[in-house]
């Protein structure tokens, strides 16, 4: 009844293929089929935000999408943020401001912040707090993450979020 389907998509600029049953969640497909374990599985019901990735440039919970739905899409996961061995400015800022402790929420935090800075290149603190409320962190108390995002916003060219 649930025949496996072939899925072809672009992940971090590379074309990738794999097979999945329709019920396979996108996050599990990324981790188990494509070996991209940077995206974390947290609550599996869209609350914690650890599994947030970008699909066609916009942040999405990859636990609330089926892998088959991503066929043909362009994805960016945390593995795709650094380029040529150089950390993305958001990652640099997270390191400088000690914006992580255990690191479990970090992939989701980074991609949520990436999406925020793309739609709003110079957010105020209130806007950063609102955006980051999409991801739960149980270690940091958020303050260092907010600082890191502010600092990255100052560093990034306003138009691209890159």
């Amino acid at each position: 009844m649930s025949l496996r389907r072939k899925i072809r998509l672009e992940v971090n600029g590379e074309t990738r293929e794999g097979w999945a049953e329709p019920r396979k969640l996108l996050v599990d497909f990324l981790r188990e089929e494509l070996g991209l374990t940077g995206t974390h599985v947290g609550c599996e019901h869209g609350i914690c935000g650890a599994c947030t990735i970008l699909i066609n440039g916009e942040a999405v919970r990859s636990c609330l999408m089926l892998a088959v739905q991503a066929d043909g899409a362009e994805l960016i996961t945390v593995e795709g943020l650094a380029a040529g061995g150089k950390l993305h400015p958001l990652q640099e800022a997270f390191r400088e401001h000690h914006a992580l402790q255990c690191g479990f929420c970090t992939p989701g935090m980074l991609l949520t912040a990436y999406d925020l800075l793309r739609v709003n290149p110079s957010p105020n603190e209130e806007e950063i707090r609102e955006a980051l409320s999409a991801v739960l962190c149980r270690c940091t108390g958020y303050l260092t993450i907010i600082k890191a995002v502010r600092s990255a916003a100052r560093r990034l060219p306003a138009d691209t979020g890159k």
């Binding site: 049953e21 969640l25 919970r61 636990c63 089926l66 949520t112 955006a131 409320s133």
Partner: protein, 291 residues
């Protein structure tokens, strides 16, 4: 957990969806944005025989201006509504309500039709539709019918949609000139479902309230149109005494129940406070003293 197995259909046109709905009747679920349905599947709180994924149907995602109205396709994403200049201009209440739905990453996928068909009693879109007397277009193989918001929401997460029908379009009257709007809600954390939410849109002529549209979420199984509060404003004008009276009547009209999140008394109290805030903020906007 992970979803149970299901048959999966993702047609690119509407006709096969309607055929599948007729065939499966209540055994199939339509998958729109999936921001509620996937969570329910992951927890195995629902086990449909089949999922009919409507995300590949391109003609269902649009925001169109008609004389005095906006028509929105069922799979229009919440994110598209949030950033639509047309919605901000013609239906600012809808734009404001949208920003309170979940978080930006869930609004990327979540759709207006999915939210309305899911019909959570605390959700934002059903209460906006109720306040503005919106219309919902349901289609089956046998034809199409247009339902008023008041008849669409029938009970706790229950709508008037028949098993073979799909919600295809949402129609909302554009805001008249000289009006103001506000959506007020209280939730413990940003992005959570509201404990209580109040939608307001007022048209002002001097001190007179030409029209008032008020509705509350989270105070019963379906959104509640706050008619006695609307009457109070239309009869008593827009002074602080009448506004306080309207808010008190709004609270009286509710019959909330107590649950894990809040007691009935607290929900009634919130209805009064949020109605008063919503009216005041809508009034400031109608008078141009607030953007």
């Amino acid at each position: 957990m992970k979803p149970p197995a299901f048959e999966y259909h993702d047609p690119v046109e509407l006709e096969p969806v309607l055929e599948l709905l007729r065939r499966y009747q209540s055994e199939a679920k339509i998958l729109a944005g999936g921001q509620s349905l996937l969570a329910l599947l992951n927890f195995r709180l629902t086990r449909p025989a089949a999922l009919i994924d409507i995300n590949r149907i391109t003609g269902l995602s649009y925001i169109k201006e008609k004389p005095g109205w906006l028509y929105l396709g069922a799979t229009t994403r919440q994110r598209a509504i949030e950033f639509s200049p047309l919605v901000r201009e013609k239906l600012p209440l809808l734009a404001e309500a949208t920003r309170l739905i979940g978080h930006l990453p869930t609004r990327t996928r979540g759709t207006i039709g999915g939210s309305l068909a899911h019909s959570d009693p605390a959700a934002e879109y059903p209460v906006v539709l109720t306040a503005l007397d919106g219309e919902l277009v349901a289609r089956a193989e046998s034809g199409e019918r247009v339902l008023k918001a008041g008849e669409f929401f029938q009970g706790l997460m229950t709508t008037a949609l028949a098993p073979d029908e799909m919600l295809v379009e949402v129609r909302l009257p554009a805001m008249p000139a000289g009006s103001g709007w506000a959506f007020e809600e209280f939730s413990r954390r940003h992005g959570d479902f509201a404990i209580v939410g109040v939608a307001a849109q007022l048209s002002v002529e001097g001190e007179r309230c030409a029209s008032a549209r008020l509705a509350a979420a989270g105070v019963g199984p379906v959104p509640l149109r706050l008619e006695s509060a609307e009457q109070a404003l239309k009869q008593g004008g827009l002074n602080q005494r009448t506004i306080a009276e309207a808010a008190a009547r709004a609270a009286e009209q509710t019959q909330p129940t107590s649950d894990l999140h809040a007691s009935a008394e607290y929900r009634r109290h919130l209805t009064r406070v949020l109605t008063e805030r919503a009216i005041n903020r809508a009034l400031e906007r109608a008078r141009g003293t607030r953007s």
